[in-house]
């Protein structure tokens, strides 16, 4: 059974088509990335999963339970970290977590609350009012709140936006552990290196539609090879190399980027440059990564 099954989900806000028939499913135990530019529909889709928004048509199931018809079961299986940094200024961290446990029907949950606080480095803030916490600490509380009921499916909507390196590492270590223990994790982020390092499969959204859906490795392999970037002085680049450029030379620029399939392709380019009398002032070799794929897919779908 799929952890999340999204079927033909449409959502419109006035004249804006936020989601135009989205269909895909996420299997149990996956670490799944949901990527796309701002306004692509990621948060709308997550809000529909969480029951915060309602789809105009289509259906979403969490572990087989419809998020509208069987909302109590669906919500109890889902833990969502919202994108907005929200908190209730009336309560301390521990009170907040106890109450969130209670909403999910758990009366005695202190052992797990302590464990979650420990893993998120929140223990020494347990009795602090949430109002007094820094942005990063508030973010940790939001993560802890999403995990109080040990949900089998965890959704994180840009959990690392504006967060320091230390929290990012703490957070990913803990989330990766939960994923190894069998929790399904869905992540949206604008940090593509994070997605590349963590996610085994990725969906890319643009304009409310899925424009790519594949394993992370397969997506990266779509862009074969690497790029060689050189800065030249002296003579201009020989015309014979023009077909190898990854994009046309800008007028007046001395920077050329070549697409290479293998490392053995580097030497002939350098030789041709030497022969023409050009001097290489700077040279870099870029390995293709998720960001290249992302840009290519997004530009290709304009």
């Amino acid at each position: 059974m799929a952890a999340i099954q999204i079927d033909q989900v449409m959502k419109r806000y006035g004249t804006l088509q936020a989601l135009g028939g989205v269909t895909f499913s996420i299997e149990e135990g996956e670490f799944f990335g949901l990527l796309g530019p701002n306004g692509a529909g990621k948060t709308t889709l997550i809000s529909i999963l969480a029951g915060l928004n309602r789809a105009d048509s289509g259906s979403v199931k969490i572990m087989g339970h419809d998020v509208v018809k069987d909302y109590r079961k669906a919500r109890s299986l889902l833990g969502v970290v919202p994108q907005e940094l929200v908190f209730d200024p009336f309560f301390t961290v521990r009170e907040t977590l106890r109450m969130q446990s209670g909403y999910f029907g758990l009366a005695k949950n202190d052992a797990w609350i302590d464990e979650v606080m420990h893993h998120l480095d929140l223990t020494n803030k347990a009795d602090a009012n949430t109002r007094s916490l820094s942005g990063g600490m508030k973010r940790r509380v939001l993560v802890a709140q999403a995990l109080v009921h040990k949900p089998p499916v965890i959704v994180l909507d840009e959990p690392t936006a504006g967060v320091d390196v230390e929290l990012r590492q703490t957070l990913w270590k803990f989330i990766a552990r939960l994923n190894r223990e069998g929790h399904t994790v869905v992540l949206t982020t604008h940090y593509l290196e994070e997605a590349q390092a963590l996610c085994n499969r990725i969906a890319m959204l643009r304009g409310g539609k899925v424009v790519a859906l594949d394993t992370t490795d397969a997506l990266i392999n779509r862009i074969s090879g690497s790029q060689l970037e050189v800065r030249l002085s002296g003579a201009a680049m020989p015309a014979s190399l023009a077909p190898l450029l990854s994009h046309p030379l800008e007028p007046g620029s001395n920077r050329a980027v070549f697409r290479i399939a293998e490392y053995t392709d580097v030497e002939p380019i350098l030789a041709a440059l030497r022969q023409s009398g050009a001097v290489i002032e700077d040279m870099q070799l870029h390995q293709a990564d998720l960001e290249d794929v992302f840009i290519e897919i997004m530009e290709g779908n304009k």
Partner: protein
Amino acid sequence: MIGFRTLFYKEVLRFWKVATQTLTAPIVTAMLYLLIFGHVLEGRMEVYPGVSYTAFLVPGLVMMSVLQNAFANSSSSLIQSKITGNLVFVLLAPLSHWEMFSAYVLAGMLRGLAVGLGVFVITAWFAHLSFVAPLWIIAFALLGSAILATMGLIAGIWAEKFDQLAAFQNFLIMPATFLAGVFYSIHSLPPFWLAVSHANPFFYMIDGFRYGFFGQSDIAPGISFAIVASFFVVLAGIAVSLLKRGYKLRH
């Protein structure tokens, strides 16, 4: 059940943590009304034979405090949670609409009744009160607070901004409570305004509540009770259906 209990507890803790503002302040306000109106009108007005004006005023003020604070609790809690965004914690949880309804309404009732009790304990020193029918007192206090807490819930769901809620409070709740016969018997009004007062459900709450003290009222308490109870059923139906549909909460 644990979900309901937790939300109820959270709602109570919320007003308890700011008790000066949510409990003490309205009690002081009600005392001021009693001192000023009682001072000015005592001896000049007799609404029911054998009942001093101050004594007449006490149940009205108690009920007015119950109603206003029951409304204030559910409405301000909801609008604050909506505007600060932390309502999401409740919306993400597997709470049914009945659980949400009961938790918000019962917490509002508790605050209204706590303020009402405080007002009563203090103002009772200033007047000779009788308790002819205590069960009516309890019944109208419970129903009145439930109605206003439910109205607060509806207003909190509907309002998107603080000023919309303030409009609801200032143009609907305040006039309806002040014109419900807190300070006078509606029989002292000209016929037109008497008829208007009969259309005000708040009038029946205060009139019935007062009957419990003096055994005298403008309307028979049984009739008032039936009207007030039906009003509650209608409002509760509206509130639960709004929660069920996710009106203005789940877009």
